[in-house]
């Protein structure tokens, strides 16, 4: 993490974002919507990567933060008529807030115990959503009305149903997460998080209260997941329990593993690839989850560094 590589770094990442921006003008409608989804999911994955890749905390329950944003924004927009901008903000706060609450308990464990505890918390959240069926409509989900997803700015109306608005807002959210990550990595805080991942005992004996730092990382991660979830609700108009299920916790792990744990653009790469792989597979079979399983096993066995991680090891050592 030295300062010598600022230029190529900026070039790569800003270039990537620019590329994504220009992509919207050439994509057919189907892929346009897909990319919108992918960018939001990549934002979710980037947040997860902060936890797994940079702080070394393997959480198996990240979907609960995505769901917090989803339900927070969705229910507020639908039930109390909160405007989309405020709902988005609320979703982010829900994600961060749940992360804080869960972290205060879960971060007292580490390693395998932490994995199980996060898995259990996520599962409990999913079950609670089903239990409070009256408010959340459980598995069936809530369909948001089109009017609740329109933001009146006075001089213009921002319609979250509109593809252009959706794409660019999703891009904005992803960009914020990606650039936020890069800023974090170059900051003193980022350095501490990496230290915690590398050698937690040493970090403690350098005077760091590692519990507090892990909690910070978890909250940032939860906020990013919450922002993705909130956007999902507002843009696609559906708030359902499936997004809180274990599936979504495992999927994000898979995307990050595939793309490259501990790399900035890895999550995007992994999300794009896996999204299209599952799409293609589901055209042929309803058991597309088989691929999820296969990929997980193969990645862990043969390719744990992921695509961008492998690239970094072989050719491009300055990739963050």
């Amino acid at each position: 993490m030295t300062r010598d590589n600022t230029k190529p770094l900026l070039l790569l990442h800003v270039g990537l974002l620019l590329g994504l921006f220009l992509l919207q003008f050439v994509l057919p409608a189907y892929h346009h919507t897909n990319m919108t989804r992918i960018m939001l999911l990549a934002a979710y994955a980037t947040g997860y990567n902060i936890l797994v890749g940079y702080t070394g905390l393997l959480s198996l329950g990240h979907a609960m933060f995505f769901a917090a944003g989803l339900y927070g924004a969705g229910m507020a927009a639908q039930y109390i008529g909160l405007n989309p901008a405020a709902a988005l903000l609320l979703g982010i706060m829900c994600g961060a807030g749940l992360a804080l609450a869960a972290g205060l308990v879960a971060l007292r464990t580490a390693g395998v115990s932490f994995m199980i505890v996060t898995l259990m918390f996520a599962q409990a959240s999913y079950l609670l959503i089903l239990y409070f069926n009256d408010y959340t409509r459980g598995d069936e989900g809530i369909l948001l009305s089109e009017s609740s997803r329109r933001l009146d700015l006075g001089w213009a109306t921002l319609d979250f149903v509109q593809p252009t608005v959706r794409y660019n807002l999703a891009l904005l959210v992803f960009a914020a997460c990606l650039l936020g990550l890069l800023a974090l990595l170059r900051s003193p805080l980022g350095r501490v998080l990496v230290a915690i991942r590398e050698n937690p005992e040493r970090a403690k004996l350098l005077g760091y209260d590692i519990f507090r730092y892990k909690l910070m990382a978890l909250c940032i991660s939860g906020a990013m997941a919450g922002s993705a979830g909130a956007c999902f609700a507002l843009m696609f108009g559906y708030v359902g329990a499936t997004y809180a299920s274990i599936q979504y916790s495992i999927l994000v792990l898979l995307w990050v593993l595939l793309g490259g744990v501990g790399t900035a653009i890895g999550p995007l790469v992994g999300t794009v690839l896996m999204f299209y792989l599952v799409e293609t597979a589901s055209d042929y079979t309803s058991s597309y989850n088989l691929f999820v399983g296969l990929f997980l096993v193969l990645l862990v066995l043969f390719f744990p560094r992921g695509i961008v991680g492998w690239l970094r090891d072989r050719a491009v050592p300055w990739l963050p």
Binding site: L58, L60, V105, A106, R108, T109, G111, V112, S113, M115, I116, V117, M120, F121, Q123, A124, L127, L128, L130, Y131, I250, L253, L257, T285, S286, S287, N289, L290, V292, G293, L294, F295, L296, V297, V300, L301, P304
Partner: protein, 293 residues
């Protein structure tokens, strides 16, 4: 039905649940105890046992007793072999690293579940119990086969206990658990012991599946609840403590049965899930395990 009989029914159900759970959880506990890894795919072995039982019943046709006995013999062999294969192909190359193993077994869970979906199909299919008789209580009738389940589980638990405590195989396992390096120096083939234990754990779960399938139905997702409950039992009982596992199985089995009958199954699951998390955080040695320094 008034409260008393309702409670009796709940307790009966809970007892059956407890014995089956003890068998299933024992498999998970052995694997953790000896190999120090958590097998998230454990529930699928339970499910595969039940599915094989269905195939046996179908094969034999009109003789449910024969089908049942065939399943009791065949299921452990089939499922044990699958498990052994998983260990050799996937877990051994990972050197049984705890975190990597959890991720890999999640992958195995998906593969096994989806594989079953593709071959067995998405429907729940019933299996005839080997014997049909009803116990007539003054308030309700109770399926007599469930007593067979209890009896068979108890017998099997006893057998496993004897094997572990008295026979050489138990000694070998305990040596490997205690200090695998020293065991290796004494000529214990640690890697093979691991595969054996992994297979044994799967076989216990498979037999539990065979026993239970006449009562439930065979379905490709039926391993999920037993997995969660086994987790709870092993963690609350103390990872690696056999006695704790058995005690916890009874507590959990009975309470899950009672809560499910009197309140909602979802609530029971929520409480169970939170219990696992909280025990892991605040009392990681469980209720019976030894506190590590």
């Amino acid at each position: 039905m008034s409260l008393g009989p309702h409670l009796l029914l709940a307790l009966l159900e809970g007892t059956v649940q407890a014995f089956v759970l003890a068998l299933t959880a024992l498999g998970l506990s052995l694997v953790f105890g000896v190999m120090r890894v958590v097998n998230v795919a454990h529930g699928t072995f339970f499910m595969l046992g039940a599915v094989v039982a269905w195939f046996c019943a179908n094969l034999v046709g009109d003789h449910p007793t024969l089908g049942f006995l065939l399943a009791l013999a065949l299921s452990p062999i089939v499922v044990g072999s699958i498990a052994a294969l998983c260990d050799v192909l996937v877990l051994r190359p990972l050197k049984h690293d705890p975190e990597a193993t959890i991720v890999a077994t999640i992958g195995l869970l998906y593969i096994l579940e989806q594989g079953t979906l593709m071959t067995f199909g998405p429907d729940a299919r019933p299996v005839e119990p080997p014997i049909q008789f009803r116990l007539l209580f003054p308030w309700f009738g109770y399926a007599g086969y469930k007593l067979v389940v209890v009896g068979a589980s108890a017998l099997l638990l006893l057998l496993v206990w004897v094997a572990l405590k008295k026979m050489r195989i138990g000694l070998v396992m305990r040596a490997t658990q205690f200090d695998s390096e020293t065991a290796q120096n004494f000529g214990v083939p640690v890697e093979r012991v691991y595969t054996g234990v992994f297979a044994l754990g799967a076989m216990l779960a498979a037999i539990a599946g065979v026993l239970v399938v006449p009562v439930q139905q065979a379905h490709y997702l039926m391993g999920q609840d037993p997995l969660l409950l086994s987790f709870i039992v092993v963690i609350i009982g103390g990872l690696g403590s056999l006695r704790g596992t058995l005690a916890a199985a009874f507590v959990i089995g009975l309470s899950d049965g009672v809560i499910s009958v009197f309140f909602s199954p979802t609530l029971a699951k929520i409480l169970a899930t939170l219990a696992v998390a909280l025990v892991l955080v605040f009392r990681p040695q469980g209720l019976f395990g030894a506190r590590q320094a």
